[in-house]
Amino acid sequence: MTPERFHALLDACGADLRRWPDAERDGARELLANGPGALRAACAEAALLDRTLDAHEVVAPDSTLIERIAGAAPSAASDAASDAATIEPSAGALPSAVSSARRARSWWRGAGFFWPRAGWALTGLAGAIAGALVVSVALGDAGPAAATDWQKRATAFTDRGADWSEE
């Protein structure tokens, strides 16, 4: 590494070599140990700015926020329940049922996010209704073998093609 490159990286990344590009770290250490003393002085000056920047701390999230966010996530049970409630009546109606199930899940999510308490209450109600449906299917007819295969249902939409990494 040249002293010029060292200064360029010091100006960009600061004095902590852990923030430097992997490939240039060893060269920087070598130069710092054996190069001109001016490099070490420049490093000390950059470290001052680093310490100042570190004074800007962000308060860690409190438990209320953690609970609120985690509570807004759909649980496997509520998802499966909403799938069961919409899909069970007719296997032949799967495409529209799937679409309904997706809409239902979106709705639950929205409810959970904006009104966590209401979301939980409604989720419980949905669970009860879906539970009743599942029981009736299990006792009443020879529904599809996958009737209780929650895992399979929960991943029924995994072929969605959206490139959401660009969102």
């Binding site: 990344c13 800007h56 926020l65 966010i69 985690a70 996530a73 929960a154 990494s165 969102e167």
Partner: protein, 188 residues
Amino acid sequence: MNDDDPDAELLARVGRGEPRAVREMVERKLGRLLSLAERMLGRRVEAEEVAQEVFVRVWKQAPHWQSGRARFDTWLHRVALNLCYDRLRRRREEAPDDDADEPAADRAEAPDELLEVKQRGRRVARALADLPQRQREALVLQYYQELSNGEAAELMGIGIEALESLLVRARRSLRARLAGEPRRNDDA
């Protein structure tokens, strides 16, 4: 499964709706998201709203995640940054001159030492808020979020040289601003 992505396994469990995984994901990523959003927006309340919006997207997308296309953490930063941009844009449109917000911090009474630390943090927050947006973004991603230069550049859609140039300008501005700013007693 993408072996290079340390979040892949947890994300898969979130996609299966495992409550413990959901909780673990929040605990693993929330602080990081708040750190990003608060430093970009300068407002705690908005940062929390952004974090919540990001997680809504996580819950929605987790079952559909395709490993190997992007690292989850990179995607998370992308989503959070976009939400921050939206808010900054709206802020400019609604009140173009209202850019000198008090950075996120409370004004509660505190012992002298704590007060001094808080004041210093507030000065940095103000200086950060005054940076041009792209410089602030580069510094927040590379310095505070500790992303590699390559990851930060990729997120910003620029080359590594351009990122280094933004970082140099950001650090110079901050050094000048923070060195030249007198410590005021009325900071608290």
